[in-house]
């Protein structure tokens, strides 16, 4: 099994996990560069891994939660890639990758902007659906929890935890371990579109 893993819920992270357990990984933490970088990084990790494109057997994608625009890049990239190569695609909650790396009970937090965090609690496995909340609300709910993830130091007045990156390689390893909680391959938005203010039709022709 040679797995391509893609996550764009926090910056861009892509990885190849080969059947010999070797991981080739590449990431860019810049927000908002998913559209430019994702395909290029895939091309790079595939060639760095020494595999040919046709040797990839599975695609694993982090389905969020994460900021919508960037998140969609990973989802559409993964879905189209799997379709074009006729290989299976598997969805995993992005936060699970961090909990897998931490390997102890924790609450994983990532930046949801608007002074909120995406979060989920882990106790061996994820104990519920991911949610989006204000940091003070999360900490009130889990006063003794260990907070980990890219959002763990964004609001130090309420949450001061371990800064950990979200790595696609961990998604791949989690998948291969057989203990992943697979979810449907569609984005975890957790927020409704802001659709109150109609924009003028900017179509085109």
């Amino acid at each position: 099994m040679n797995v391509l893993a893609i996550d764009t819920s926090v910056g861009v992270s892509v990885a190849i996990l080969r059947s010999n357990d070797e991981v080739t990984q590449s990431q860019a933490i810049d927000h908002g560069m998913q559209g430019e970088l994702t395909a290029e990084l895939i091309s790079k990790v595939v060639s760095d891994s020494g595999l040919k494109i046709e040797e990839i057997t599975d695609v694993v994608v982090g389905v969020g939660p994460g900021p919508f625009t960037g998140l969609r890049v990973g989802l559409v990239t993964a879905a189209v890639f799997a379709h074009a190569r006729s290989i299976p695609i598997h969805g995993i909650c992005s936060l699970d990758a961090i909990a897998f790396d931490y390997a102890k009970p924790c609450v994983v937090v990532t930046d949801a902007r608007r002074k909120e965090l995406y979060w989920a609690r882990y106790d061996g496995i994820r104990t519920g659906e991911p949610q989006v909340s204000k940091p003070e609300v999360i900490v009130a709910q889990f006063p003794d929890a260990k907070f980990v993830g890219p959002g763990a130091q964004l609001y130090p007045d309420s949450i001061n935890g371990n800064l950990m990156e979200l790595k696609a390689g961990s998604l791949a390893k989690l998948f291969v371990s057989g203990s992943a909680q697979l979810v449907s391959v569609s984005p975890m938005y957790l927020r409704k579109p802001d659709a109150v203010e109609p924009t003028i039709r900017k179509s085109v022709l």
């Binding site: 994702t38 969609r72 938005y189 924009t199 900017k202 085109v204 022709l205």
Partner: protein, 347 residues
């Protein structure tokens, strides 16, 4: 070499379009539209459009391949709209196209949506005359272009200085209580209306305006005039003849657009006018354009209405022309450009 087989992806607004062409032959043109989801907001909601593009992408690619009876692996290159359009919507199409390019090991062309609207006519009427004058009229823009070479040399002669033509249709439809998008409903209402019932203003056609804005158009004055006319009538207790207002408003738009387009052909000594964009599906525009072009001995090319609105076939058509002429492909890291200038045909 046989004609290039190109898959084109279009997601600049609310249509997810996948087209497949071989050279100038159309093999498939599949469109999934999210327009119904936007209707209740009276305009396209970018986040809703982007969500819909993501959901529709793989199924629409699948449908197009099956209609064209090809395998993805047979495709020679991928083309995709890189701008102009809604940023988040463009991004879904571009990411999909890049992923296809990597998965299949094929070159990718990020192309200008407006140039694609011009090039699509090749699928219907064969190779474009060079140079041509092109008029693109839609909900997003109204542009007059001089096109010496659609793959690398497009010159903007003029554009709207306020609303796009399609926008004006949408706004007047709203004033008249017609649904969104307004174009088709105004067209329909106008069928039984009198185009000369009300003399609405023709923007930027006075000698003073022509000095500065010879090939530009403006519709905000027209929009205000229609709204004011309706208000006055209502205040006077008269019932509004929706069909007459629609016909007269449509006549004003069509008249201005064609005056400018014909003038552009004559002034540049160009014998062919190409019209594209959603508003080019308007029946009055099509009839009147045919008549005026004939009067001035100008060859008129308008693709059938289905190819005037946004679709993937137009993107594929331009991709095929780029490949055929040996133009450079885009870098895999190219960015979307929501306000891409027409002078950039390829990203």
């Amino acid at each position: 070499m046989s004609e290039p087989l190109i898959l084109g992806i279009e997601t600049s607004c609310d249509e997810t379009g996948i087209g497949i062409v071989r050279g100038t032959t159309l093999l498939a043109d599949e469109v999934a539209s999210s327009v119904d989801e936007h209707a209740r907001f009276g305009g396209v909601v970018p986040e809703i459009a982007s969500r819909a593009h993501l959901e529709a992408m793989v199924p629409t690619i699948e449908r197009a391949c099956s209609t064209a009876n090809i395998k993805l692996a047979d495709v020679d290159a991928i083309a995709v709209t890189s701008g102009p359009g809604l940023a988040g919507a463009l991004l879904v199409g571009v990411a999909a196209a890049k992923s296809l390019a990597v998965a299949l090991g094929k070159p990718i062309y990020g192309v200008n949506h407006l140039a694609a609207h011009v090039c699509v006519d090749q699928l219907e009427h064969g190779p474009l005359d060079e140079p041509s004058v092109a008029m693109l009229v839609s909900g997003g823009h109204s542009s007059l272009l001089l096109v010496p070479d659609i793959t690398q040399d497009v010159i903007q002669l003029g554009q709207t200085i306020d609303d796009a033509a399609g926008e004006a249709f949408d706004k007047i439809a709203r004033v008249l209580g017609l649904p969104f998008p307004g174009g088709p409903y105004i067209d329909q209402a106008a069928q039984t209306g009198n185009p000369n019932a009300i003399d609405f203003p023709r923007g930027l056609t006075s000698p003073k305006d022509m000095a500065k804005h010879r090939f530009d158009v403006s519709f905000s004055g027209l929009k205000t005039a229609v709204a004011r006319w309706i208000e006055t009538e209502q205040r006077a207790g008269n019932s509004i003849m929706v069909n007459d207002v629609a016909a007269s408003f449509q006549e004003a738009i069509v008249d201005v657009l064609l005056r400018k387009a014909i003038d552009a052909c004559l002034c540049n000594d160009v014998g062919t006018l190409v019209i594209g964009g959603g508003v080019a599906a308007n029946s009055r525009l099509r009839t009147e354009a045919a008549q005026r072009c004939q009067e001035h001995n100008i060859a008129l090319r308008i693709p059938r209405p289905g190819l005037c609105t946004d679709n993937g076939a137009m993107v594929a058509a331009l991709g095929a022309e780029l490949v055929k002429r040996g133009r450079d492909a885009s870098q895999l890291s190219f960015a979307t450009d929501s306000s891409m200038k027409i002078t950039n045909v390829v990203a």
